[in-house]
């Protein structure tokens, strides 16, 4: 097994037993980047020098520290992690995938980056994404599209396109992402990796280029569920710089991971099995649901009646907040001027400006905020009957590059199954369940706010079952 193929927990074990050095591990990922990035375009910036220097430093530290100390204080010691280029990294260019910020070098780290570094992680590079995280395919990046590693003529999903591809190909062992309407879960499903969108406010947004502030969630991609739980244990928690992070304590997400799921009630919403969904995806999803049943979970059909209004609601609220957040880019304090905005940013800024303007505010924005309440209530009703909900992530397999770029509305509809969780602030865990025509398929598990621990437990049980069946 090559080092870049390891999961985080396997890599930690290898480092502890001195089977290889931190530098070996980082160098293995860097080699993967050199080999694959020219084709896949997953990284905008590779931090080769910085990462190797940090690895050497860690290899010296490891000699001084006892394994127990490393385990306790540095849960990610020496682990190469990629960051979506939306996360500010001190001294390292952060573009948000846009030419507006092509020359922007932050003077501070985002809270997530700071926490990852404090836990011992090494930032190996900054990943490609749709500019400003606006997109479902990765094609809106001003630095060229990222390609799907399973079929280079197809999209990897967006907006966190490069992060998903980096983890799927071992260019890093994990990667950060942002999810405003599905930007972690869709690429996770399209690239066959695990993607977590935590509860709104569970992870600090400080230092991450803001898209839509009432919806933005900071999450991550990993190769398996255990690694995902490990990273959330590091990144979650109260941050004085982000007032939406609640003050209650972060659980140890690994603690109950391996508990069985017998007796847990899981809902399947009928509104998520729509016309137009690819047959093979429906089959795979139903197979996974059967698998949950075999594990002892009770499957209950539920209804989320306002599901069909989620995309329209989201495409009012989100551009409105985008127009406000992107107003700060004036080229005076940093970055270039507004003439560098690409088409999609312009569309969303204008949509938001329009729906917020005098005379339209009530018809659009206020109306959408009310429907948002109803969507949230649908989930609240459902969670009286079930503890979690399982749905497909995407109605289609990864689509062809260029297939939807000329039709913004068609592109927006790619997020039809992922948007509701953002509107309701719920955590959602996407995990791979199989392949159709050699392309990965994923499902998502949703739970009440702050129920990540349960989602990991269900995900872990499913993952184990799949491994045993191999």
């Amino acid at each position: 097994m090559k080092l870049y193929e390891l999961t985080i927990s396997q890599a930690k074990e290898g480092l502890e037993k001195k089977k290889f050095s931190v530098k070996d591990l980082v160098a293995s990922c860097l080699e993967q980047i050199k080999k694959l990035n020219p084709k896949l375009n997953a990284f905008i910036t590779v931090c080769e020098k910085e990462a190797l220097k940090e690895a050497e430093k860690k290899d010296l530290e490891i000699k001084k520290l006892r394994n127990l100390e490393i385990k306790g204080k540095f849960p990610l010691f020496g682990i190469p992690i990629a960051a979506k280029d939306l996360f500010c990294t001190k001294g390292i260019r952060t573009t948000a995938g846009s030419k507006v910020l092509e020359n922007y070098i932050p003077v501070y780290d985002a809270t997530v980056i700071k926490k990852l570094k404090e836990a011992g992680a090494i930032i190996i590079g900054k990943t490609n994404c749709d500019a400003w995280a606006h997109g479902s395919s990765g094609e809106n990046s001003d630095f060229g599209p990222t390609k799907n590693p399973f079929d280079e003529t197809r999209v990897p999903g967006g907006s966190s396109s490069g992060s998903a591809v980096a983890v799927a190909t071992g260019m890093s062992l994990a990667a950060t992402g942002t999810d405003t309407g599905g930007s972690i879960r869709l690429p996770a499903a399209f690239c066959g990796v695990v993607g977590l969108k935590p509860t709104y406010g569970r992870v600090s947004r400080f230092g991450v280029v803001a898209m839509a502030s009432s919806l933005d969630c900071m999450g991550h991609f990993t190769k398996n569920i255990e690694d995902s739980a490990l990273i959330l244990s590091v990144t979650a928690g109260k941050d004085p710089y982000d007032a939406t992070t609640p003050s209650f304590e972060t659980p140890d997400y690994l603690k109950n991971l391996k508990k069985e799921i017998r007796g847990i009630k899981i809902g399947v919403p009928k509104e998520y099995f729509i016309k137009g969904m690819e047959k093979e995806i429906e089959q795979q999803t139903l197979l996974a649901i059967k698998g949950l049943e075999k594990l002892g979970a009770k499957i209950v059909e539920i209804s989320l009646p306002h599901t069909k209004y989620a995309v329209a609601t989201y495409y009012i609220i989100q551009p409105a907040e985008v127009s406000s957040n992107l107003a700060r880019y004036d080229g005076i304090r940093y970055g270039f001027g507004r003439e560098k905005f690409g088409d999609e940013a312009k569309r969303r800024i204008m949509l938001g400006t329009y729906t917020l303007s005098a005379g339209y505010y009530e018809a659009y924005y206020l109306k959408a905020m009310k429907v948002r309440t109803l969507i949230k209530q649908d989930f609240a009703e459902a969670f009286k009957k079930v503890q979690a909900i399982v749905t497909p992530v995407s109605p289609t397999l990864p689509f062809k590059l260029g297939e939807k770029t000329q039709d913004p509305l068609k592109m927006y509809l790619s997020d039809i199954f992922t948007i509701p969780a953002n509107l309701a602030g719920l955590p959602a865990l996407a995990l791979p369940i199989g392949f159709v025509n050699n392309l990965p398929v994923g499902i998502q598990i949703l739970g009440p706010q702050f129920s990540e621990e349960l989602l990991f437990r269900i995900g872990y049980a499913l993952e184990r079952q799949r491994e045993n069946e191999k």
Binding site: N103, T244, T313, D330, K346, R347, T353, Y354
Partner: protein, 104 residues
């Protein structure tokens, strides 16, 4: 096809130009035309919300229910002027230098 699209168009070119001006975006004539069509389609799609009865429903802006989050008003270190100005295209002393905003 183009006929159908112009029928559902509920944004005029003038409106597109006006919105762009409010948002400080400069558009070419071609872009005005393209965005007029694309934005109209999206706005048309949003009409589906008219089906939803929302009388008496409170709007949701904050999903987790946090309210009035305060902190102590304490001074803590922030960026040094040189750091804060490190990405500025133009500076004068410890200030950002901008073009003229108000004419005499």
């Amino acid at each position: 096809m183009s006929n159908l699209k112009s029928q559902i168009s509920n944004l005029t070119k003038e409106e597109v130009k006006h919105i762009a001006k409010l948002a400080k975006l400069k558009l070419t004539e071609e872009e005005v035309e393209k965005f007029q069509q694309q934005l109209s389609e999206v706005l048309e799609y949003m009409k589906v919300l008219n089906e939803v009865e929302t009388g008496g429903v409170e709007p949701t802006a904050q999903v987790t229910g946090l309210e009035n989050v305060f902190r102590e008003d304490e001074v803590f270190p922030s960026l040094e002027p040189n750091e804060a100005l490190s990405c500025a295209p133009a500076r004068e002393g410890n200030f950002f230098k901008t073009g003229v905003v108000l004419e005499k």
